[in-house]
């Protein structure tokens, strides 16, 4: 028994099996992810426009694309806007999600099950479906939101919510947060139910109040879950593209540019693929800096 288990667990020399088993996945990831990353980095140092596409080869321009991007005042405005937009969505969705999850613990079972069902329903909505519904709710004509506002006594027939970028971003962000809330709430709720009862009972016996219980027991145990959820939210919200694109009829005005839209417009709109690549690379590096912690956390879990 011991010998065999040893063979199963620690036969590490000259065993080709693990390599054979991972090679198909390495092949797929290599072609579709690693090569494009390499290509993205190379493109960012090249002038790559329509003529270069036809020739199939870019011209090396050194750091020109980055210099152009960083000296473009428009870029800094867009970066700032993207960070604010992302930060707002992450903050609202994580705070509301965590709050709902805690409330769910104290809800009557019937309400909790209904809420859980609604959250799953929302979670399952395809992105394009949820965007379509939200567009309909805030449409120029016959929208339910305008009707509700009118019924409250304000006169605003045929209001275009997207003329004002603030209300526009508010609606787009609302749609993104609405779609993200179920994942956040259900994950935190699942983690909350895993907090060992013995610890809570012991704390209660020792006379801790609910705030102390949260601070000294629940929060430290849930911290890794919060970190994962916040990091994932940052990654998802930072690159929001389809929402802005579809809400604004596939031609957003420049006040609606976020970094993802900007990179897209530079490359697919203006055919400056080198510039677009440089902007995309800046976007990836920004994200890696922000979410480096998540990666380390996941690595720890993977090595166990």
């Amino acid at each position: 028994m011991k010998k065999i288990s040893l063979a199963l667990r620690t036969r590490r020399k000259k065993n080709p099996w693990p390599y054979l088993l991972v090679s198909p996945s390495l092949f797929a990831l290599g072609i579709i992810l690693c090569y494009p990353i390499y290509k993205l980095i190379r493109l960012s140092f090249e002038k790559y426009g329509l003529s270069e596409i036809i020739a199939g080869k870019g011209t090396f321009v050194g750091l020109q694309n980055f210099a152009d991007t960083f000296t473009d005042p428009e870029f800094w405005k867009i970066l700032e806007r993207t960070i604010f937009f992302t930060g707002g969505m992450v903050l609202v969705s994580v705070v509301v999600g965590a709050w709902l999850a805690h409330l769910m613990l104290n809800m009557s079972p019937i309400l909790r099950n209904i809420l859980n069902g609604v959250l799953i329903l929302v979670w399952a909505m395809p992105q394009l479906v949820s965007i379509s519904v939200w567009r309909w709710m805030f449409s120029f004509n016959f929208s339910i939101v305008t009707a509700v506002i009118n019924s409250l006594g304000f006169e605003m027939d045929n209001h275009n919510y997207f003329v004002n970028t603030f209300s526009g971003f508010l609606i787009i962000g609302g749609c993104v947060a609405w779609g993200a809330l179920p994942f956040i709430t259900i994950s935190i709720y699942a983690a909350l139910t895993q907090v060992p009862k013995e610890l809570l009972e012991a704390a209660e016996i020792d006379g801790a109040n609910s705030r102390q219980v949260f601070r000294t027991i629940i929060f430290p145990i849930l911290l890794p879950v919060y970190i994962i959820i916040i990091s994932l939210s940052v990654i998802w919200d930072f690159q929001v593209f389809s929402h802005i694109w579809i809400f604004l009829d596939s031609r957003p005005s420049s006040e609606y540019y976020t970094i993802a839209i900007y990179a897209f417009q530079k490359s697919f709109g203006l055919s400056e693929y080198g510039m677009g690549a440089a902007i995309s690379l800046i976007m990836i590096l920004t994200l890696i800096t922000i979410t480096g912690y998540y990666l380390r956390q996941m690595m720890k879990m993977g090595s166990e």
Partner: protein
């Protein structure tokens, strides 16, 4: 942990149910309203009359059958291939020790973090060089790569919860390695395999951005692209769009409600320690 339910929690719960559920409610009720009720300055919360005309209009709209077929093709190939590839990889990661395993795991986690919209440019250039743009095969290839990291990671999670001792017992009783996999490991993994395939299904069914960039001709459109086509220069036909949205969401809702709790725990599995 559970105290008796509090009034404040229950009131907040009702508000949350109404606010979160309203868009879905509004989509479904709109889809059953006749046109004159939709185009009204005073929309009613409860439909006054019931009509299926939006559905017939959506289903007979140009390209519906083609988009449905395209989506099904893309989904089936993505799911089958990615599950096979991921199954092999997850066995290696969960059960075997090999040099470079740490790097392999790290790279899987890193690529999961990559923002898709940042890779659009090189992906588009790569696939156009391979002459795979405007082909369903090109889309399938990219979808496989994008679902693989998550599928491998989740399958690994299911695998490490199956005790190695079961396999060891099989070996002791004289099974060969392939027999151990076929008779002991795979049956135990079946629920995990179903859950992750449904996940891959949903991802491939819902994806919009890559398909939007890679597929240009109308007869290659997938369901999300077809949905986006309801808005044109003359505006949007809301009734049929809501009917089409309901139809697009339906399969996902059904599958999703089946696997939801498995995936929710899969993402954060092992993060909480008692």
């Amino acid at each position: 942990m559970r105290k008796s339910s509090s009034l404040f929690s229950n009131i907040s719960g009702v508000i949350a149910i109404i606010l979160m559920g309203f868009p879905v409610y509004w989509m479904i009720t709109t889809s059953f309203k006749p046109k004159e009720d939709i185009l009204s300055i005073n929309p009613t919360l409860i439909p006054r009359s019931f009509s299926l005309s939006n559905y017939t209009q959506a289903v007979t709209k140009e390209g519906f059958m083609q988009a449905l077929l395209n989506s099904l093709i893309v989904v089936v190939f993505t799911v089958v291939i990615s599950i096979f590839v991921a199954l092999f990889a997850s066995i290696a990661v969960a059960r075997m020790k090999f040099r470079g395993k740490q790097i392999y795991i790290a790279s899987i986690l890193i690529v999961q973090m990559l923002p898709l919209s940042a890779l659009l440019i090189p992906l588009y250039l790569l696939l156009s060089k391979l002459q795979l743009t405007d082909k369903l095969g090109g889309v399938v290839l990219t979808y496989i790569a994008f679902v693989l990291p998550f599928v491998i990671w989740t399958l690994r999670g299911f695998l490490i919860n199956i005790p190695v001792e079961l396999e060891e017992a099989g070996l002791v009783d004289g099974c060969t390695r392939p027999q151990v996999y076929r008779k002991i490991l795979f049956p135990l993994m079946a629920p995990g395999l179903v859950a992750t395939s449904v996940f891959a299904f949903i991802q491939a069914w819902n994806e919009f951005l890559l398909a939007y960039i890679l597929l240009s001709s109308q007869d290659k459109a997938t369901m999300p692209i077809w949905l986006a086509g309801f808005t044109n220069r003359f505006g949007t036909d809301w009734g049929p769009l809501m009917a089409a949205s309901t139809l697009t969401a339906l399969p996902v809702v059904i599958f999703f409600s089946l696997i939801q709790n498995k995936i929710a725990t899969g993402v954060t599995a092992g993060a909480v320690k008692g």
